[in-house]
């Protein structure tokens, strides 16, 4: 076991896979000599050179479309967007091409491509550097969506993403980058579609996404001091979504809250609520609740930015409200 940061753990997973498979290459702005704006590729250029760590002009649509063609012809591209906000110029390539080509070719073509980037609100990054956007990727068939919440998961899930023959959106919350965690010395992978019980409890179930996991665990700790027992579930992947683990928890607790920094309307909380209601209608002692970030563009000023994201306090309050239902 070693202690690594979230970024270092992801980088270790990437390095292991690049060493294992020479067909893997990374594209992005500043991911070569510079080692990535967030140090995602630090040290790899020295090992693998410009063909496998390819700095690009500012052409998100261009290199995403290029990587689509590369994935169709025998290599395994990883697109490092730095901020995932920049992915929006390439949505046509992702929805109309990358997500559909396995289907259109009846599986004769594979689409082993990883699209990774920093998501989330924090550090006054303002409205063009704070997006998450994962609900739309969950909505579209043909894509996998991964939202690791800790260093252990980011390494194991990234290795699975890189080995997947499906296109994977790998979305890392920038506020988690410096969090530390224990990483085994031996290799491990984490399968998609397997939620983690981050904390066991009996009175209410809380599904927390990405950066909300830690805050929710803090809320659960606070409530534990008051003798309230909360189960916290980290879905880890949103597509596929492990609804079974969530439903089992609700079967036990009878109550569910979904905590998600991103927008509520047509968000992942709505999907989980709709599925759990059908799977466990008779289990529910209260309506399934959602706690989301406010439905607004992200403002710059710290005073405003802090007001739009769920906090340990607002999560605690939401759980109390759910228990009072």
């Amino acid at each position: 076991m070693r202690e690594l940061t979230y970024i270092a753990a992801g980088r270790e997973g990437l390095a292991e896979e690049m060493a294992r498979d020479a067909t893997i290459f990374v594209v992005g702005e500043g991911i070569g000599v510079r080692g990535g704006n967030f140090n995602t590729t630090q040290g790899l250029y020295e090992l693998y050179g410009p063909l496998r760590l390819r700095d690009t002009p500012i052409v998100e649509r261009g290199f995403v479309g290029m990587c689509c063609g590369a994935a169709m012809t025998g290599t395994r591209p990883i697109v490092d967007f730095m901020f995932v906000d920049f992915i929006l110029d390439s949505i046509g390539e992702i929805f109309n091409q990358i997500a559909k080509i396995q289907y259109m070719s009846s599986g004769r073509l594979k689409m082993p491509i990883v699209l990774r980037g920093a998501i989330g609100i924090g550090g006054s990054a303002a409205t063009h550097h704070s997006g998450s956007y994962f609900p739309m990727f969950v909505n579209i068939p043909g894509l996998r969506v991964v939202v690791p919440s800790n260093p252990y998961d980011v390494k194991g899930l990234l290795k699975t993403a890189i080995r997947s023959d499906d296109p994977v959106l790998f979305l890392e919350h920038k506020n988690l980058y410096n969090n530390k965690g224990q990483i085994p010395d031996e290799e491990y992978l984490i399968p998609f579609g397997a939620a983690a019980i981050a904390r066991e409890g009996t009175q209410a179930s809380v599904v927390a996404v990405g950066s909300m996991v830690r805050k929710t665990l803090e809320a659960a700790d606070a409530l534990a001091k008051q003798g309230i027992s909360i189960e916290v579930i980290d879905p880890r992947t949103l597509a596929p979504l492990d609804i079974g683990t969530i439903s089992e928890s609700v079967h036990k607790t009878g109550r569910l809250l979904i905590v998600d920094e991103t927008f509520a309307p047509c968000g992942i909380g709505a999907e989980i609520a709709a599925q759990v209601m059908v799977a466990g209608f008779d289990d529910l002692d209260a309506p399934i609740m959602r706690l989301n970030g406010l439905h607004t563009p992200t403002p710059y000023s710290p005073a405003l930015e802090a007001a739009i994201v769920p906090t340990t306090q607002s999560i605690t309050d939401a759980i109390q409200a759910l228990l009072a239902e």
């Binding site: 990587c67 063609g69 012809t73 091409q97 599986g107 997947s164």
Partner: protein, 331 residues
């Protein structure tokens, strides 16, 4: 940028007749599809390649199944020239399980990776980027394969053109960009869509080797492609070829063909029919005689009739298979 292409016939009789045969196969398939469309056998769209056969034929003559072609909504000719059979093509447009895309695609989504037909797209632009990506794979894998993008003048003003050509150029990728400039995007004249209608000249501004050729002269296309493909295979990087050509049928079957171009213009281009041009050239220079073409005509006629019959008798896909292959087996 050079527009000088030496068109003295450098290829042998067999090769020349093979080009004729390929163009004829495309022509007859398209004529069959037009008939089938009118007969209601084609449930979706049908964009024919009639008049542009020389482009796909002249380019693909240099490609093997290991090379990767990416194309557009007007892709029947590219698919056939790359090795998709008339049976697979017609069955696909009929929506049958025996089609090259198993009936999932239709006219605008032709997939046959077995022969390096990596797909046509109903969206204008992506083929340029995907061919660039194929070139990236081939460079990384260090093979001698090439990626080829066919696209129309309508794609030239699109950002995909700008971004894809620049990337292939700076990274010296083995890619051939083939612009089929037929002067119109649906009913929008290229001369309206840009103030600089010289596509090869615009491509040259990225400092990619670029040439403009008569797209109705299969020998000119063939010669330009020979140079570009050889350069790519030798590690010399990407090339651009503008083929000035014309579609003599409406944008799509069932659409009007008036109000945006004149009958005279259509007639003038029909007079430069790529098949007739090649035939008279070969006969004129004594390389072939009328007798050489008859057996080819007969063979292709039979081939296409058989294909239409095959398609008509092919089963529709099984609805229970409709959600297969959305994800790979690996998950």
């Amino acid at each position: 940028m050079s527009t000088q292409i030496d068109t003295t016939i450098t290829i042998g009789k067999m090769e020349a007749l093979a080009l004729y045969r390929q163009m004829l196969m495309i022509r007859r398939c398209e004529e069959q599809l037009a008939k089938s469309y009118q007969a209601g056998m084609i449930p979706g769209a049908c964009h024919t390649y009639v008049g542009e056969e020389a482009v796909a034929t002249g380019i693909c003559a240099h490609l093997t199944h290991r090379d990767a072609v990416f194309s557009t909504h007007r892709g029947h000719g590219h698919a056939l020239a790359k090795g998709v059979t008339p049976r697979q093509l017609i069955a696909e447009l009929y929506g049958r399980e025996t089609g090259c895309s198993r009936g999932r695609g239709g006219s605008m989504h032709l997939f046959s990776p077995e022969v390096g037909m990596m797909g046509t797209s109903g969206i204008v632009g992506p083929c340029i980027l995907q061919a660039t990506g194929a070139g990236y794979s081939f460079k990384l894998l260090n093979t001698d394969q090439v990626g080829v993008a066919f696209f129309g003048d309508g794609a030239v003003n699109n950002g995909a053109f700008h971004e894809g050509i620049n990337l292939a150029t700076i990274w010296e990728l083995p890619v051939i960009f083939v612009c089929e400039n037929n002067m119109y995007a649906t009913e929008i004249a290229f001369s309206y869509a840009t103030r600089n209608t010289e596509v090869a000249e615009r491509a040259a501004s990225y400092k990619i080797p670029s040439v403009a050729v008569d797209g109705n002269d299969v020998l000119a296309v063939h010669a330009a492609a020979a140079e570009a493909v050889a350069r790519a295979r030798a590690g010399g990087g990407a090339s651009f070829i503008e083929c000035k050509t014309y579609r003599t049928r409406p944008h799509a079957e069932g659409m009007r063909d008036a109000g945006y171009r004149t009958a005279d213009e259509i007639e003038a281009w029909k007079a430069r029919d790529p098949l007739a041009l090649l035939q008279s050239r070969l006969v004129g220079e004594g390389i072939a005689n009328a007798g050489d073409f008859e057996p080819i005509d007969a063979e292709i006629k039979a081939l296409v009739e058989d294909a239409a019959e095959f398609a008509k008798n092919s089963p529709f896909p099984d609805p229970t298979s409709v959600t297969n292959h959305i994800y790979s087996a690996s998950q």
